[in-house]
Symmetry: C2
Subunit: 95 residues, 2 copies
Amino acid sequence: MIRLSVLYPATEGATFDHDYYRDKHVPLAVRTWGLDGAEIDKGVDGPYVAAVHFKFKSAEALQEAMAAEGTGDVLADVANYTSIAPVLQTSEIVA
Amino acid sequence: MIRLSVLYPATEGATFDHDYYRDKHVPLAVRTWGLDGAEIDKGVDGPYVAAVHFKFKSAEALQEAMAAEGTGDVLADVANYTSIAPVLQTSEIVA
C-alpha cells in the first residue's frame, strides 16, 4: 500500500480554509481518483497547518491517478483554499 | 482523534534501520502507550525517509503518553536505529 501525504507548512502571511478543504477539495480528489476516502489533519502543534493522507493500492495506481484527466481540476482547486505550497511525500506503508 | 506523526527527514550522512524501526521500536512505543497499533511509512519520494503515525483518543491521552514512565525508554531507543532528528507533528483528525 502506498501513502501520498500532502503536507501544508505554516507559512507567514498565508491562510488555509480548513472547511473548504474538508468539505470540497479532498472529496473532489477522492472522487477523481476513485478512492475509498482519505484522512484529513488540522495541525495542532508542529510545522504543518494541515495535511491529507491518501492510500493507493500500488505505486502504479498512484501514477495513474496523477495522470488522470481530472487531476488538473484537483490541482487548480488548491487556490480556492490556500496560497501555501504543499510538501508531497510518497511512502510505502510497511506496517 | 489526535494523530502524532513522527517524520524523519532525509539527512546527509545519516542512516535509518527500517527493520529495527518496524520490528522493535514502533512495537515498543505501541506497547508503552497502550495503543491498538500504528502505521509505519518507508519513504519512496519526498523529504522524509521514514515516518510513523500514532492515533490517540484525545489531546489528554497524548499528553499522558508523553509523560508515561516508559516514554524515556522509547526515546532512548531512537539511537538504536537512526541519528536523524525527527520532526514531530500533532494534528486533529477532522475526517
